[in-house]
């Protein structure tokens, strides 16, 4: 017979866990709303900026800019990995880190030197556990990342790329596609190549003719770094939204699992209680009968 007191204790523990996971679920839902709204309200600006940059770049035809220069041979590369600061978000970090490590191994096979800028305590802990080197550990980004937090990271990367210290910059993050779907992806941040490829006109396929003042070179000097910053910021925002969704889902599953376990423990407890009562009754009745 299962020990009754033990069952009560376990049930109490599971109840407490359920209380926590349910609260976490509610908080994650609220945070997700906030992060989602922020991301959505920012999108028109990001889109317009991309359009503008693409337009200018397209209009200029053959263009030369340090941030768009594809090096002849890729030798040193930076990979920014956006994991979460906190746990309890299911397989969010595990999935992303798996993708990142696969990419790192692939690059290592091609003799490309990758340096990892790890964002988020969870990723730092995992890489420490695996004894993998990290060039940078960033663990002070808030749940709703602001541009001011991301800007120095982007600027540092742009500087180093411009100086030729690194030949490429990639960012690994969890792309937010919809509430039901988030996917770990690796995107190229520098050099800005896709920008030109995607610059073949606007929606109607028309090539808009611009007249520039100041000169397009000067404009690009301003716009291209801004694009890189905004893109990195976008990745941070997406990661934040995805994290909250993942936490929401994970905590919902945990609450349900805890609920099931409470149900099971309650049933076990009731059975144990009934068994004990029956046995005691039997003992009493048996004893009384024997005395007659």
């Amino acid at each position: 017979m299962a020990n009754r007191r033990l069952l009560v204790k376990r049930r109490k523990a599971v109840r407490n866990i359920r209380k926590i996971t349910r609260t976490m679920q509610l908080i994650a839902t609220a945070r997700f709303q906030a992060a989602h709204n922020a991301a959505v309200s920012r999108r028109p600006y990001t889109d317009k900026l991309a359009e503008l940059t693409a337009g200018i770049a397209g209009a200029m035809g053959e263009l030369e800019h340090p941030l768009m220069k594809v090096p002849e041979k890729e030798e040193r590369r930076a990979l920014v990995v956006l994991t979460s600061m906190r746990g309890l978000c299911g397989a969010f970090n595990a999935n992303l880190l798996r993708t990142a490590i696969e990419e790192l191994d692939r690059q290592a096979e091609k003799d490309v030197d990758s340096e990892v800028s790890m964002v988020g305590g969870k990723g730092v802990a995992y890489f420490n556990f695996l004894d993998r080197p990290m060039a940078e550990e960033i663990t002070h980004i808030s749940d709703l990342p602001s541009f001011d937090e991301v800007e120095p990271i982007a600027s540092a990367l742009i500087d180093r790329f411009s100086r030729g210290e690194i030949d490429a910059v990639d960012v690994a993050y969890t792309k937010f596609i919809s509430t039901g779907r988030q996917r770990p992806v690796i995107e190229r941040l520098l050099p800005l190549t896709q920008l030109v490829e995607g610059a073949e006109g606007d929606e109607d396929g028309r090539q808009v003719e611009y007249e520039f003042s100041p000169s397009p070179e000067e404009l690009l000097d301003e716009l291209l770094p801004a694009t890189v910053r905004i893109r990195l910021f976008q990745a941070f925002t997406d990661a934040a939204v995805s994290e909250q969704v993942a936490r929401m889902v994970a905590m919902k599953a945990a609450t349900d699992a805890a609920q099931d376990m409470i149900k099971r423990l309650t049933r076990e407890y009731n059975r144990a209680r009934q068994t004990q009562i029956t046995l005691e009754l039997l003992d009493i009745v048996g004893g009384a009968n024997a005395l007659e």
């Binding site: 017979m1 299911g90 970090n93 994970a250 945990a254 376990m261 048996g286 024997a290 005395l291």
Partner: protein
């Protein structure tokens, strides 16, 4: 038998009966008494002997006795003859290869046997000074048992388990493994289990050969049965009959003797069935108040002495999987090694379903099995214990929330769990995987490498029903 001391049956209550004797010739406790019952089956009349055993003196020349057979047809006033001694069973070399019931009659249809010696089934346990103090491990080739709950040569091992978790299969497997390589004698007591199983075992023993001597296992074995169909009195005493035969081999030949008992719980159960009829007040959970004494009297006799060793392996049924039930609980304390079979493990399809955390042995200590073996056994248990502790967290939050170290523990524990399964010789026809014998060195090495993480890359499935760790690697390639 002398007809000197004759009494009359005065009362029959189920499987107990009262008899009146002259007060000056009152039969002693444990004395065997005989009633001749005339039966007619299809116009054929024959006389059948019903054996009884004196259990209580009621005063005034009246005795209360436990019937060792069916009391059907016993009449008040029938003659009951006191034999003047306890039930006596034949002992010695002549009994080898034969099957008996508890009063020592053969039941294998091969005719009666001629013996030079019979011994009473009741006897005092050996003196303290005669007990043997040797401690030596008894290798079985079953990984989980050799690693975590090794048998003791000349010691007692208990296989605990609820209904249908594989106690009898393990007993039969141990007979197949030990008796086959065993030079001494074996004794099997079937106590209140299925008659079919007894029959299977008998046939199997006739087929199985001892090493390459050309002799069958049965030629070195005595079997005594008092199965489910027998009345409680028979089930209560059949273990003693088998034990008496085993004791003779131990004392007279000095050979190592194996004693298998399936199932000790039925002995307690039979005792409880007759207890109330004998007029005793039931004790906890309805068991007889003398439960501990009865178990002690039986278990204390199963022991190794300076003249020879008896290694006994007993199956013990655990009612409703409740290990706190008084019957299995009283048996626990007498054993050198306990092998607990767990339903939740059997449900995962892992056989033998030995619970690696609850099973233990007296000799799991560095001074008996060696520092290395001890360390590996404890490491395996630590990993499995950690896994067990984490189980609730995994059930609620999922495995991704564990720390990296714990994830490694869980992965390894899952492999270890599966690696504890093993194919049995006697189960080959059911699972179509040939049985495997893993030496103790291989077992220790395999588990050590598993704990060290040398085999983390193999899929969990590769560890099911393989022998050594190299077999698992081979299996992984096939998958």
């Amino acid at each position: 038998m002398q007809d000197g001391n004759v009494g009359k049956v005065t009362q029959v209550i189920g499987s107990t009966l009262d008899a009146q004797f002259p007060e000056d010739t009152l039969p002693a406790i444990y004395n065997a008494m005989r009633i001749d019952i005339e039966r007619t089956v299809q116009d054929e009349t024959f006389t059948e002997a019903l054996w009884c055993e004196v259990a209580q003196h009621l005063g005034g020349g009246r005795v209360r006795a436990v019937a060792l057979g069916s009391t059907d047809g016993v009449q008040r006033g029938a003659d009951i003859i006191d034999t003047g001694s306890a039930i006596q069973v034949p002992v010695g070399e002549e009994t080898l290869g034969r099957v008996f019931n508890l009063v020592g009659d053969t039941i294998d249809d091969l005719g009666p046997i001629e013996v030079t010696e019979r011994r009473p089934i009741h006897k005092e346990p050996p003196e303290l000074a005669d007990l043997s103090a040797k401690t030596e491990m008894f290798e079985t080739g079953i990984k989980v048992m050799d690693l975590l709950c090794p048998l003791v040569r000349g010691g007692k091992a208990g296989l605990f388990g609820g209904a249908g978790v594989g106690k009898t299969v393990i007993i039969q497997e141990l007979i197949a493994r030990l008796a086959r390589f065993h030079s001494g004698y074996s004794c099997f007591a079937g106590v209140g289990e299925r008659t079919r199983e007894g029959n299977d075992l008998w046939l199997e023993m006739q087929e199985a050969q001892i090493g390459d001597t050309g002799k069958s296992v049965i030629d070195q074995t005595v079997m005594v049965f008092g199965q489910m169909n027998e009345p409680p009195g028979a089930r209560l005493r059949v273990a003693l009959s088998a034990l008496t035969m085993a004791e003779h081999f131990r004392d007279q030949t000095g050979a190592d003797t194996l004693l298998f008992v399936d199932n000790i719980f039925r002995f307690s159960q039979a005792g409880s069935e007759v207890s109330a009829l004998l007029g005793r007040m039931p004790s906890a959970v309805g068991y007889q108040p003398t439960l501990g004494t009865e178990m002690g009297e039986l278990q204390e006799r199963i022991t190794s002495t300076s003249s020879g060793a008896v290694t006994s392996i007993q199956a013990i049924y655990v009612p409703a999987d409740d290990y706190t039930d008084p019957a299995p609980a009283t048996a626990f304390t007498h054993l050198d090694s306990t092998v607990n079979l767990e339903r939740s493990i059997a449900e995962k399809g892992i056989y033998p379903a030995v619970d690696p955390l609850a099973s233990s042995s007296r000799i799991v200590a560095p001074e008996y099995i060696g520092e290395h073996h001890y360390r590996v056994a404890r490491r395996v248990q630590q990993i499995l214990q950690r896994y067990k502790d984490l189980q609730d967290i995994i059930a609620i939050l999922g495995i991704d929330e564990l720390s990296e170290d714990d994830k490694v523990v869980v992965r390894r524990a899952r492999k270890i769990e599966r690696f504890l399964s093993q194919a049995f010789y006697v189960a080959e026809q059911f699972i179509s995987i040939p049985g495997s014998y893993v030496s103790r060195e291989d077992t220790i090495r395999s588990f050590e490498e598993l704990c060290d993480g040398k085999w983390d890359h193999l899929p969990d499935q590769a560890f099911m029903y393989v022998g050594t760790i190299e077999d698992a690697a081979k299996r992984a390639e096939e998958l």
